[in-house]
């Protein structure tokens, strides 16, 4: 059974690059003072393959990840049952994220790394138990925790905290509101800003997935170009055996061709990190859309309440004046079975009036809730945009730096080969 352990604590300074990035973003804001990521060092340091029985008592194999936490500042009081390391599996991370997205509908909740390897060039295995995939997921899960821990609102969540430090954390089920997200409905007066944002997240998702698809193909082809050069290595070496003066030059040039062909493995492995950075934003686009969807749902709720109130008011008026403006079954029955008694009517009006009052209050609070939602959602979206611009610039820089180093390696290898050829 394999297990991937990170080499010591020192290397962990490599990954909280995201964390540092958040610090730079929020260093001025007061919220950051309370931010968990500043007070606690969080790492996902190990991954381990395990076999166990699930709820259905069926044997299953899964990967568990070791979460390690360490207080940077000791000032905080620490409870007895708090752990500084514990194992969690991917499905538990999923539960946590579900919880966060239900509890904080106005927040662009950081996405989890992909469940299954996607958009990979053929050389990489698509197996979920593949060590490379597990390692990339380990980094992704750590990144997720750091994103949450450095989010001004999410970092204060108690359940998140217990996820990090307590073996058992309160279970929760997605509530009916989340399920309604999948239902189709149409709002009458959509908020233009959210419509635009939804449109943007759709476009972003499609452009990034296109990019990832083509990048995987580009990587495949590049791999081919390099590897075919490796054949020169062998044939130059074989040819050198029959040559006198040319022999040595050919032989060593062949060696450089071998080096050239082998160099692509590291280059593409490194590039996979860039793909992971893009993937995070592919999933962020989904999170962004979820916020828009939740806003729509809220708007729909509001519109339905308003519509209900209007119809009740109308009914009340009809009863009071005795006129039926629109054709209704009630109107028909009253015509068929005779008029109600004035007492009955009074009672009905009274009930309706109570309902109207209740409805009006509800509408008021829903309006308020909606306004609050828009306000806080927009604040988080602004925060997200800033984070996105910053992250993607960093990702593109590191991508460009990778390409530069690939070009330099290429120049080096061919210069060495040229040197050998010139001695022939």
């Amino acid at each position: 059974m394999w297990c991937g352990r990170r080499e010591g604590r020192a290397s962990s300074s490599l990954c909280p690059a995201w964390l540092m990035l958040h610090e730079s973003l929020f260093s001025s804001s007061e919220k950051m003072e309370d931010c968990l990521a500043k007070k606690m060092e969080i790492t996902v340091s190990e991954a381990e393959k395990r076999t166990g029985r699930n709820a259905m008592n069926i044997q299953e194999t899964y990967t568990a990840y070791l979460i390690e936490t360490r207080w940077v500042m000791r000032a905080h009081s620490q409870s007895m049952w708090m752990l500084d390391s514990l194992w969690r599996r991917y499905s538990e991370f999923e539960l946590l994220r579900n919880y966060l997205s239900v509890t904080y509908p106005h927040i662009v909740v950081p996405p989890l790394p992909e469940k299954r390897a996607d958009f990979v060039w053929h050389k990489l295995s698509a197996d979920n138990m593949d060590p490379d995939f597990v390692e990339r997921r380990r980094i992704g899960l750590e990144n997720f925790l750091l994103r949450v821990a450095s989010h001004p609102v999410l970092c204060q969540d108690k359940i998140f905290y217990s996820f990090l430090t307590q073996l058992f954390f309160p279970f929760f089920q997605a509530d009916s509101r989340l399920k309604a997200l999948n239902a189709t409905f149409r709002v009458k007066n959509p908020d233009k800003r959210f419509t635009e944002l939804k449109h943007y997240s759709d476009e972003l998702q499609s452009v990034i997935s296109h990019l990832l698809r083509v990048r995987a193909r580009v990587a495949d082809r590049l791999y081919g170009v390099y590897k075919v050069h490796g054949n020169y290595g062998r044939v130059f070496s074989e040819w050198s055996a029959i040559e006198k003066e040319m022999g040595d030059g050919l032989q060593s040039a062949g060696h450089h061709m071998d080096v050239y062909a082998a160099s692509i493995d590291d280059i593409l492995e490194e590039e996979e990190h860039y793909a992971d950075q893009l993937k995070e934003y592919l999933f962020y686009a989904e999170a962004l859309r979820a916020v828009c969807r939740k806003h729509e749902l809220m708007q729909y709720d509001l519109e339905m309440a308003a519509q209900d109130l209007t119809s009740k008011k109308q009914q009340c008026e009809e009863l009071a004046t005795g006129t039926v403006r629109t054709f209704s079954l009630k109107g028909m029955t009253s015509k068929l079975f005779g008029q109600e008694t004035p007492e009955q009517r009074e009672a009905k009006i009274k009930v309706l009036e109570e309902q109207i009052q209740e409805g009006e209050e509800q509408l008021k609070s829903k309006n308020l809730e909606g306004r609050d939602f828009v306000k806080s959602a927009w604040a988080d979206i602004e925060r997200f945009k800033e984070q996105k611009n910053h992250d993607l610039k960093e990702a593109l820089i590191s991508y460009a730096v990778m390409q530069i180093s690939m070009c330099k390696k290429g120049i080096q290898v061919w210069t060495n080969a040229k040197e050998c050829f010139s001695k022939m």
Binding site: L204, V214, R215, R221, I242, A400, K418, M424
Partner: protein
């Protein structure tokens, strides 16, 4: 005592009248001088391809320009137009009249792979280069460059007239044409020629492999190019969605575009400059193998005749003259072949050094262009200090 002035110490008669045997010595003498152009007295270039459209056929002619101080030429300068089939005629004539020599190869007449446009600029240019190389190789040869057919090819206003008259015009070559006789089988090749044969077999095999690898690389590069051409614009599409990232993403798209152009140039260079030279050498080694076979036949004929004499057991110390002539022929052939092989080895070494260094250079240039492109986008991505 007999007059030994006409014999070398080992008793081999020196036939000073034979142009073939003298060539080996000449070869060696000129080989070193060859390297600096000072001693050259014959310069031939092939350029200016022109397309001719007739009712019967469409073909390309090339201008063949000659500059010389040699006495064999009436004028110091000639300029004629020749088409591929004229070059082909010349090569056949050289092969007939100089059977002991390695005749440089012509580019293949038909392009087998793919439907290549025979009149496209690239094809014509590649062929022009190959034809130029062919004539230069003959020009540099101490024996072939003095061949009468070659002289005619370079100078005749109407080559077709010569072609029709055929051998009648050049009857003095008549004897050497019948030089090669078939029907004899050599029992075993002498070691040194067996070694050359083995060398050529391996050499052409390895070159064939290199040719396939080079083609495969070009194919992979073109497929890579297709993907890269799709990849770049996606960044541009993304850029259109963004505000702050718009400029960097556009920059990235342009950068990938530049890499595409560089890659395209690289595979074009490899197709036009690298592959034809490889092909020439594959054909060259085939020519060499043919010469080796002819040599074997000459030797076989000699051995068969020698055996026949021995069987007669005639108590005569002197070998009949025709057998002696045969022996002479074998020795001439051997000398010519060895000299040509040595010359060829030298050319090959220089050509491959140049070819492979060129390949390395093209790749270095490619990476340098990409490097410049990628470096240029870094400033676009870096945060401009406190612009807010």
């Amino acid at each position: 005592s007999p007059d030994l002035s006409g014999f070398l110490p080992n008793g081999t008669p020196v036939d000073t009248s034979s142009p073939a045997s003298s060539s080996s010595l000449l070869n060696r003498l000129q080989l070193d001088d060859d390297l600096d152009g000072e001693t050259r007295d014959l310069f031939v270039t092939v350029d200016d391809p022109k397309k001719h459209v007739c009712t019967m056929e469409t073909y390309i002619t090339y201008r063949v320009t000659t500059k010389t101080t040699r006495a064999e030429f009436d004028l110091p300068e000639y300029s004629v137009r020749r088409r591929y089939q004229d070059f082909d005629w010349l090569r056949n004539k050289l092969e007939e009249s100089q059977p002991t020599h390695l005749i440089p190869p012509l580019p293949e007449k038909f392009v087998v792979k793919g439907v290549v446009d025979r009149f496209s600029e690239e094809f014509v240019e590649t062929r022009r280069k190959a034809l130029d190389k062919f004539l230069k190789r003959i020009t540099d040869h101490p024996v072939l460059s003095f061949n009468d057919h070659f002289n005619v090819f370079l100078t005749a206003k109407d080559l077709n007239a010569y072609k029709k008259q055929g051998m009648a015009l050049l009857s003095k070559m008549g004897e050497s044409v019948k030089y090669v006789t078939g029907g004899y089988k050599l029992r075993s090749r002498p070691l040194e020629f067996a070694a050359i044969g083995e060398y050529l077999d391996t050499f052409s095999l390895k070159l064939g492999t290199i040719d396939r690898i080079a083609q495969r690389i070009i194919k992979e590069q073109l497929e890579y190019l297709v993907e890269l051409r799709e990849y770049g614009p996606v960044y541009s599409t993304w850029g259109a969605l963004e505000v702050e990232l718009s400029e960097p993403l556009e920059g990235l798209s342009a950068c990938i575009g530049n890499c595409c152009t560089a890659l395209e140039e690289l595979s074009e260079d490899m197709t036009e400059d690298f592959l034809p030279v490889l092909r020439e050498y594959i054909l060259y080694s085939e020519s060499m193998k043919n010469v080796l076979k002819k040599r074997d036949q000459v030797q076989a004929e000699y051995e068969a005749k020698l055996e026949a004499v021995a069987l007669k057991k005639e108590d005569r110390p002197k070998v009949p003259t025709d057998v002696e002539k045969c022996q002479d022929r074998v020795e001439c052939f051997n000398a010519d072949l060895k000299a040509d092989m040595e010359r060829w080895q030298n050319n090959k070494r220089q050509d491959f050094r140049q070819l492979l260094m060129g390949m390395a250079d093209k790749n270095i240039q490619y990476y340098e262009k990409c490097l410049t492109a990628w470096e240029s986008i870094i400033p676009l991505l870096q945060d401009k200090p406190e612009t807010k």
